[in-house]
Symmetry: C2
Subunit: 481 residues, 2 copies
């Protein structure tokens, strides 16, 4: 009989385990990782194909600018400074035209200004002899860096010129410090500026000419999309069915769709940065240079306020405490009308914004919703209720009704704000007597099928058919930039 | 009689106007601007004095790193590459330690990796002869830039390694492109890496040693502050007085104080970026390296949900439709108790988080609030109401009551989440029999007066006195970073 020591046993089992890990577990895990990454990549690209074009554009710009190194005549002119053009492209090229323009202009102007000041500081320090020079230069750098860093804390400056100030500190320090060793400081400043201008302008040219992504257009669409999301919630069958006494189980399957409005709650920063970028953009498409981007932010704030109410409403619709059927049936009609008309109004507003037409067709919906709200109030006042109904059973439906009344008020504010935008941005006014199908086709390309024009939802709603199926979930691409 | 031509008249009036503008209007406007800027600057500095120290720290770091140029022995070693250290300081030095560490590590690692890959690409391209080399190099740069740019769109990577990828593209392009002209490419890569390490480490050392600003601590305080803001709203006299029939005019004066909770609604991005920075930070103060920062985000989400409800509640409290006094007086006690106990619970939780002690004293408050909610439900069920009360008059108070019940549920979720944090982060458990004053003084520095310790509010609340005056508005400094 062979006696095996426990230690050798252990080593054997360890080596088997290691072997097993390399042979079995590792390949499996790696395969799973590769598959997951591939599917994530595919999703990312499908959600917004502009991401792929952007990546290609960056590669293109970099390869183009590298020519300053490869192509002899260009190299003879710029020498090693050509590398600044490469750096500029990497740092300045952003997803949208506005962001690229903002960064490019910030970088160029800051370099120009800081270069001039740096030269001045260098010459001033030069006067104070060889011992005083480094001390004075160090002092200048310190004061300049501390001041500029503090200025970056001002919210308004941070929003628009943060990058410019960073480059200002950088260039000033570089020019004034280099000057201490390098006597060709003017040449250095000149080369740096010209290569930055070359790099920056090639970024801007490529981002404007090759499949441009406009931040303003994104903001415009985001605002419309957010209103549509709220409309989707309000027109959703499961919201409408809350007041119906029929089985509620069936509406549970697409709860995820009801979560669509949630992204509206946190859209503030995204809207603000898009508006900041949009201000840099020249006129494009239907947007002029001084398009009222601030008004979009106002609409955004009101949309979010409405979304908060909808969030509260959603909590009630999903809660276990259900309203009593007999009470529900009494206020069903008014509440359903309010929710639907509200949703329709928001959708009309969104369509108006998208198509840049005067959303005059939204007004009838808001008045219908207001009439329904009045009716509801009268209904509640008229004591149609059984005298012995306990108040606790009434609470859920009354709360929901009251939230709906709130939402009607919010929607009215949004409508006012959109109308203000329409007059500020000179939206086209559409003849309301023209049937919506006609007017839509008239605005879109006439050859395109109806389902492909900018705002297909309008067809479902405006013609008054009680089709409660909302359109499929809208892609989120404008949000996840 | 002298005839004056209209043109000369115009010129005279124009010159007077121009003169007036330079003499009168310009100095006035300039003075006003200077005064406004000065007061803004003062406010910015007072809101968070760390901004001033940060600015001085950046100036200090830059002056220090400039020594590489001024001091001969250092210059002999690093030469012109010393400028990379200056650049690194400008770009890497951020407000908090976590952000600086994250950027510094990203920059160093990305430079190392991209430098190695760039060298590899250069040698590979070198093999293909003088004509093939630029083509192959251009291709490498294109593929690398396009791939890395696309990878930057992955949300998880964007959150933590965005800057690293930027530097990766930059360094790879620089090294591989420069290699085409410069034969001392290895020297270049080595100098760039070492100066970046020097610049980055001096940033990190200064930001850790000189008045450090920890993102983790900021997140910790922000979460506590947000809960306190909600508590301030719920405990505010004007909220409590809504149910009292006495005059309402007096509470209108400090409406601005009631707006404190609004900043909670939009705190998501701030919390997320702080949590991202905090993950880079080493252990500091009471925070260990793997402190459960994710749990803070969970609490943040729940706090925001509660804030949405409070926003809806605030809308009702400010609306013109007032509840009927006789109805208010009936539910007054229960609602006031709910609001107050809720506020106390939130304040206890905030205090617990701030002091890093187990917030066991919050539980009694939440149970009191729940008991009040139950009472309220019973009250509504028991039909104490006059049989002829119309429902419309009841709606406002019932809605407010129902929102308060909602808020109780939200608070309970927040409490559970904070308790989870307390166990995850091993918060100290305080003996509940010890009086709060004692336990507070025991934790704080014993020499400090009671009003200066971290969490003075606890004294007001835990000892059960019905002091409804909330503490003065808390400074907003942790939010406006």
């Amino acid at each position: 009989m062979e006696i095996v020591s426990p230690a050798s046993h252990e080593i054997a089992s360890l080596s088997t385990r290691v072997w097993w890990w390399f042979e079995e577990a590792l390949p499996k895990r790696l395969t799973a990782m590769v598959i997951e990454t591939a599917s994530n990549t595919k999703k990312l690209a499908q959600d917004d194909p502009r991401r792929v074009t952007h990546s290609i554009k960056v590669g293109l710009a970099l390869s183009l600018v590298s020519l300053f190194y490869y192509y002899q005549p260009l190299y003879d002119n710029f020498g090693v400074s050509g590398i600044w053009a490469v750096m500029t492209v990497v740092v300045v090229f952003e997803f949208s035209v506005g962001a690229t323009l903002g960064k490019g202009l910030n970088r160029t102007l800051a370099t120009l200004l800081a270069g001039a000041l740096g030269l001045g500081a260098y010459h001033l320090a030069n006067l104070s002899g060889h011992i005083g020079e480094p001390i004075l230069l160090g002092l200048f750098v310190f004061i300049q860096a501390a001041t500029s860093t503090f200025v970056r804390f001002f919210p308004k400056i941070k929003a628009r010129y943060d990058y410019g100030l960073l480059i200002f500190i950088l260039t000033f320090s570089m020019i004034s410090v280099s000057g201490f060793r390098d006597n060709e400081i003017l040449e250095l400043a000149h080369q740096r500026l010209s290569t930055i201008i070359i790099g920056g302008s090639s970024c801007i040219i490529i981002s404007v000419l090759v499949f441009p992504v406009w931040a303003g257009e994104d903001l415009h669409n985001l605002i419309a999309l957010n209103m549509e999301k709220l409309a989707n919630f309000l027109e959703h069958p499961s919201v409408i069915e809350y007041f119906k006494t029929s089985e509620n189980g069936e509406s549970n399957d697409d709860k995820s769709f009801l979560q669509g409005y949630k992204s509206v709650l946190n859209s503030k920063r995204n809207e603000e940065s898009l508006a900041n970028f949009a201000r840099w953009e020249p006129c494009h498409g239907q947007f002029h240079f001084r398009h009222p981007w601030k008004q979009y932010l106002k609409i955004g704030i009101l949309t979010r306020e409405c979304a908060y109410r909808i969030d509260a409403l959603s909590g009630h619709l999903n809660s276990d405490i259900r309203a009593k059927p007999e009470i529900c049936s009494k206020i069903q009609e008014a509440c359903t009308t309010m929710s639907l008309e509200n949703g329709k109004c928001l959708r009309e507003l969104a369509c108006g914004v998208r198509a840049m037409t005067h959303p005059s067709s939204a007004k009838p919906h808001i008045s219908k919703a207001k009439i329904a709200a009045k009716k509801l109030k009268l209904l509640l006042k008229s004591r149609l209720w059984e005298k012995d109904a306990d108040l606790l059973a009434v609470i859920p439906s009354v709360t929901v009704a009251s939230l709906l009344i709130d939402i009607v008020n919010c929607t009215e504010k949004i409508a006012d704000s959109v109308l203000e935008l329409a007059s500020l941005a000179h939206f086209e006014s559409v003849d309301p007597t023209v049937s919506p199908e006609k007017s839509q086709v008239g605005q879109g390309e006439p050859d395109k099928p109806l389902t492909e024009i900018t705002c297909p939802q309008v067809v479902i709603i405006v013609d008054g058919s009680e089709n409660e199926n909302p359109p499929g979930p809208l892609t989120n691409r404008h949000i996840e930039m």
